[in-house]
């Protein structure tokens, strides 16, 4: 899972750097040489659509999806475990929901052969397929993790559930930050 997150992040980061270069070039050319590459906006939109959907999975693996833990951490450990299970499962269901409503978008785009009204006239199915694939990855990853949480709860390994599925507390997040600070 960690490897998966690393590779998604690399892809995402590289896409952002490429976009930065392209947009910066476009901006400078426009200002200095009166020419316009065009399409920077459009490219940014597609990279965000795919990148954000892919990043859902990274946030999932890094337990970064926002949960309010003010009461949660005061509950008994077994109650916490059940809520954690419900949380990860609910993210999986959210993923399925995205796939369900997203399918309508894909189906329409195919039926209408929709193309962006832009210089590139991008057939929308390309960026939308990438976006949909990333959403599917998120749904599968969340359901896979729910399965793991369910097995842990069923076997009564409550502590491990807490260790793997609790919302990351400020302390944990900080200690990671500090480790990285000391490493440089």
């Amino acid at each position: 899972m960690d490897r998966l997150a690393t590779w998604i992040s690399r892809l995402f980061g590289a896409a952002l750097l490429f976009l930065s270069g392209f947009v910066a070039l476009e901006t400078v050319l426009r200002k200095a040489f009166n020419t316009s590459l065009q399409g920077a906006d459009e490219l940014g939109g597609y990279i965000l659509a795919f990148g954000a959907a892919a990043a859902f999975t990274v946030a999932l693996i890094d337990r970064a999806h926002v949960r309010i833990d003010v009461l949660h951490r005061r509950f008994a450990l077994s109650v916490q475990a059940w809520i954690d299970l419900a949380s990860v499962l609910s993210l999986g269901l959210l993923g399925l929901f995205f796939l369900y409503v997203g399918w309508g978008v894909i189906a329409d785009t195919i039926a209408y052969k929709s193309t962006a009204a832009t210089p590139w006239r991008t057939p929308l199915i390309w960026p939308q397929a990438a976006w949909y694939g990333a959403l599917a990855l998120f749904a599968v990853a969340a359901l896979w993790l729910s399965l793991r949480a369910l097995m842990l709860v069923a076997r009564g390994r409550i502590r491990q559930v807490a260790a793997e599925f609790n919302p990351k507390s400020a302390e944990e997040e900080l200690s990671e930050e500090l480790d990285q600070l000391h490493a440089r």
């Binding site: 690393t6 992040s9 690399r10 995402f12 980061g13 590289a14 952002l16 976009l19 930065s20 947009v23 910066a24 901006t27 200002k31 920077a40 459009e42 940014g44 939109g45 597609y46 990279i47 965000l48 659509a49 990148g51 954000a52 959907a53 892919a54 990043a55 859902f56 990274v58 946030a59 970064a64 999806h65 926002v66 949960r67 309010i68 833990d69 003010v70 949660h72 916490q80 809520i83 949380s87 609910s90 959210l94 929901f97 995205f98 369900y100 409503v101 997203g102 309508g104 978008v105 960026p127 939308q128 976006w131 507390s169 400020a170 302390e171 900080l174 200690s175 930050e177 500090l178 600070l181």
Partner: protein
């Protein structure tokens, strides 16, 4: 939809949030449930286009770019060296290194999109030096926690971007509007540190065991070199937006490229370095964008169901003056900010509150600054105050959490007072963006 139904919905939502379910899930679930009750399954057909519409919104592309920018500057160690440089300049003022804390936070705030990263970095560099020189823990910790919140007011600011996208307000204008309040709040914090130090000295209580030694001017000037990266990045971002050369997304892209050049010049550019930056950027982006997608899904139901309208009408029926309305909102955000993290607070309130305040004749750009100030406040109010935990976590002397809270209280009071000032003198935020036209 009556106001009672809406309150019922709100209560259910708060309950689900407080037991610790993911905020995004709760929002989507409520949006879908509400929409099904009001409209039936046709609503679901509209959710897909909305979801694609948000994901494909080129304005939001600025969010991952600014996050990446902050990561590049932070993890290359440029922020650490800024602290040293500033301490040469500010260390001998009454209050000494505490000014450096606030000054570094303000400077770093300008380049980083996040307050937690700001507080953690500056705190790690600052606290050993502060302890060594015998500063009172509560004063040190308070200045760090509060200084760290400046990150979301002084642009670039991810929080202002989120506000802009949810309230359909120009992000460029919001960034420009954040500059003067950000600088004034920084100055206000520094005035407070100076005043407190002078007062302590008069009462015979020293504020620092050992004052800083005089530094030769040459060393001071050499120190300025370390401020160049941050200053350049800030100048690029704000300059290109202010001069109208670039949109916020374009300015972010330019700044990322320049920051990358700085990192390369420092000899820090490596695959491991980029890996860390990318992972953090992806994680934070995923977290923020999922919440934004959820917020837009919920908004469809809120708008179509006339919920926003009902709440607006109800508030309008109270017959509050704009000033009274804003003070009521201040109390509302103060309380909400105690228990909620800042991003959740923003996405849940903005879609409903912004129509109310614009109906009352309040400028939505100004209100963006107001909301971000209230979010800053939320970061240093217990029990859920991200910056308090961060600063407590960074200290190594093992003192009690109450030190941090005690030290942060005066700054919280200052923020409230500053917000009140902004209410009576909206020009503080609006003068600069207005001067653009």
């Amino acid at each position: 939809m009556t106001i009672i139904d809406i309150l019922l919905g709100f209560t259910v939502m708060m309950g689900l949030l407080l037991i610790g379910l993911p905020v995004a899930v709760v929002m989507v679930a409520l949006g879908v449930a509400g929409g099904m009750i009001l409209y039936g399954p046709v609503l679901l057909g509209s959710m897909g286009p909305v979801l694609w519409g948000v994901s494909n919104e080129s304005v939001l592309t600025a969010i991952p770019l600014f996050i990446l920018l902050g990561e590049l500057l932070l993890r290359s160690g440029m922020a650490d060296r800024m602290y040293g440089a500033l301490s040469l300049w500010l260390g001998r003022l009454p209050g000494g290194l505490l000014h450096t804390n606030i000054g570094s936070c303000a400077l770093f705030a300008a380049t980083s999109g996040s307050s937690v990263a700001t507080a953690a970095t500056v705190g790690t560099v600052a606290l050993p030096a502060l302890g060594e020189r015998g500063y009172r823990p509560d004063r040190s910790l308070g200045s760090l926690a509060a200084g760290g919140t400046l990150g979301i007011l002084i642009p670039p600011s991810v929080n202002l971007l989120v506000y802009g996208s949810l309230a359909s307000v120009s992000v460029g204008q919001l960034f420009v509007a954040g500059v003067i309040p950000g600088l004034l709040l920084t100055a206000l914090f520094m005035v407070f540190v100076t005043g407190e130090s002078l007062w302590l000295r008069r009462r015979g209580l020293s504020d620092a065991a050992r004052p800083e030694a005089e530094v030769p001017l040459e060393a001071k000037l050499r120190g300025l070199l370390h401020l160049i990266p941050a200053a350049t990045v800030f100048a690029i971002v704000m300059g290109s937006i202010y001069l109208g050369i670039a949109t916020p997304t374009e300015s972010a892209a330019l700044a990322v490229i320049v920051a990358l050049l700085f990192v390369w010049r420092e000899g820090r550019l490596s695959f491991a370095f980029l890996d860390t930056c990318f992972r953090q950027t992806a994680k934070t982006t995923g977290m923020i964008l999922l919440i934004i997608c959820a917020a837009f899904t919920l908004n469809v139901t809120l708008a179509l169901g006339g919920i926003t309208g009902t709440v607006s009408a109800w508030v309008a029926g109270l017959g509050l003056t704009p000033v009274a309305l804003l003070f009521a909102l201040m109390v509302f955000y103060l309380i909400l900010g105690m228990f909620m993290d800042v991003l959740s607070m923003q996405v849940l309130t903005i879609p409903v509150v912004v129509p109310i305040v614009t109906a009352a004749g309040i400028d939505p750009v100004w209100f963006g600054i107001f909301v971000v100030l209230m979010s800053e406040l939320g970061m240093i109010t217990p029990p859920v105050g991200m910056n308090l935990y961060v600063v407590q976590g960074v200290r190594s002397d093992g003192g009690p959490f109450s030190d941090v809270v005690k030290g942060a209280i005066p700054y919280a009071v200052l923020m409230l007072a500053f917000t009140a000032l902004l209410i009576f003198w909206p020009g503080l935020a609006l003068w600069l963006p207005r001067s653009l036209y």
